[in-house]
């Protein structure tokens, strides 16, 4: 049995795939920004909040880190409407990605926050800075620097994991590939091209993070 590859048919629809890839990038980038906000707030409350709040954050982190993203997505998209909270597919995908990435990033940022020497915080207190100022100026910056590589690889996992949101038909790269596959019957060609696009996006983001790290943390701060 011989199989003749026909990539031409895939390239006829390449614009749709690129559009899907663009949504993948947008979803991941938005989830990164929103998830980081969640993480910074939660990491602060996890270390400095009142005890019940600390427990609540710990429960959030453990629950989301020990259940599959796909199940979290199904809960957001299929279960929450039963409670009267409705999202369309793309919103549900983003919401699930934010809470999922937020949980991992909270734990990562917390590790960074705890790596900041207590002496630096005491110095801030001695200089009469307010708690929030100390957190923002003295704790957060070196904390993020310390955990930057961990955050970057967690983001890559988020980006690649986002292909799972095709299961609720958010129309990102994987979902578009599925549609193309079922109309052209060229499954292998479609998925190879999509896989290479993901690889390209992942490699590009790794490079972007390396550059960002250098600009924010290295340049002029020796």
């Amino acid at each position: 049995m011989t199989y003749v590859f026909q990539f031409g048919i895939v390239f006829d629809h390449i614009d749709r795939m690129l559009l899907g890839a663009w949504l993948t990038i947008r979803l991941s980038a938005m989830a990164l920004v929103l998830g980081l906000m969640v993480a910074v707030i939660c990491a602060y409350l996890r270390t400095a909040g009142p005890r019940p709040v600390r427990w609540l954050i710990a429960a959030y982190v453990e629950l989301f880190r020990n259940t599959p993203f796909l199940v979290q997505l199904y809960i957001v998209f299929f279960a929450l409407p039963q409670a009267g909270i409705r999202f369309d597919a793309n919103e549900a995908a983003l919401a699930a990605m934010v809470v999922n990435f937020g949980a991992y990033a909270t734990e990562i940022v917390r590790a960074g926050v705890q790596s900041v020497p207590v002496g630096q915080i005491e110095t801030g207190l001695a200089l009469g800075l307010k708690r929030l100022h100390i957190y923002r100026l003295i704790v957060l910056f070196p904390a993020i620097k310390a955990v930057f590589p961990a955050l970057a690889s967690q983001f890559i996992l988020l980006l690649l994991g986002s292909s799972v949101v095709s299961a609720i038909s958010a129309n990102e790269l994987t979902a578009i590939s599925n549609t193309l596959q079922s109309t052209t019957f060229r499954a292998f060609e479609v998925y190879i091209v999509a896989t290479l696009m993901y690889l390209g996006i992942a490699v590009a983001f790794r490079g972007l993070f390396a550059v960002a790290y250098w600009f924010v943390f290295v340049r002029g701060r020796e």
Partner: protein, 221 residues
């Protein structure tokens, strides 16, 4: 319409077996592959190192779902008709091999250079150095991150439900379709994953903490 009762719960629980079985098989087959990848990654031959690192890059740089699709649909084209089970096992083993390979490479390279030098001075061959000196020490530091990866693997098996493999998540979907109670079914599914994963997470944390203490004591001595 069916009510969600003990029977439905037992159906989901029974499907949970397949989550466990798939995780265990992927872990053992992927573990064997991962060991090979890790060894190739620290090989003295540059092309071999490059090939192993390419393998890791590809599997860590592309979505697991795409790997599943490619193996499921792709290999069929070359005359290999795969049933879902075989395709899923191959895909998860390959995926696990890449991640464990990368983790274990780090552990092998964390063993100080002097250990290699000392073993060479004792006239051990390359394989003897590797298997008698380096790996026994690397195994100790490899255990906590390996347990940590097992958590990720158990969660990753949920993705197999998308190509129709019936495990916890797929069983949850089937029961949701039958009972129309996603608000009840999916949290139960999530809790079952949690009972599988949380003990492993705690074990990984415990092992990591214990190793840090060991190291601190070792340094003082």
């Amino acid at each position: 319409m069916r009510q969600f009762s003990t029977n439905e719960f037992l159906f989901i629980l029974a499907a949970g077996q397949w989550t466990v079985v798939l995780s265990l098989i992927a872990f053992s087959m992927g573990g064997a592959l991962g060991l090979l990848i890790a060894l190739l990654r620290v090989s003295v031959f540059a092309p071999v190192r490059l090939a192993a690192s390419g393998y890791i890059q590809v599997f860590q740089g592309t979505p697991l779902l795409m790997q599943l699709f490619l193996i499921y649909y792709g290999l069929g084209l070359f005359g290999l008709r795969l049933d879902t089970w075989t395709a899923v096992v191959i895909a998860y083993s390959a995926y696990t091999g890449a991640f464990l390979g990368e983790i274990w490479r780090g552990c092998i390279q964390a063993i100080p250079r002097e250990q290699w030098d000392g073993a060479t001075a004792l006239a051990l061959t390359y394989l003897q150095r590797l298997f008698l000196v380096i790996i026994p020490q690397a195994v100790r530091i490899a255990i906590p991150p390996t347990v940590g990866f097992m958590v990720a693997l158990v969660k990753a098996t949920a993705v197999a439900s998308i190509i129709g493999f019936v495990e916890l998540t797929r069983a949850g979907q089937l029961m949701t379709n039958a009972t129309f109670q996603p608000m009840l079914v999916y949290p139960i599914v999530a809790m079952l994953y949690f009972t599988l994963c949380w003990p492993l997470s705690l074990l990984a944390q415990y092992l990591e903490r214990r190793m840090r203490v060991d190291n601190a004591i070792g340094r003082k001595a």
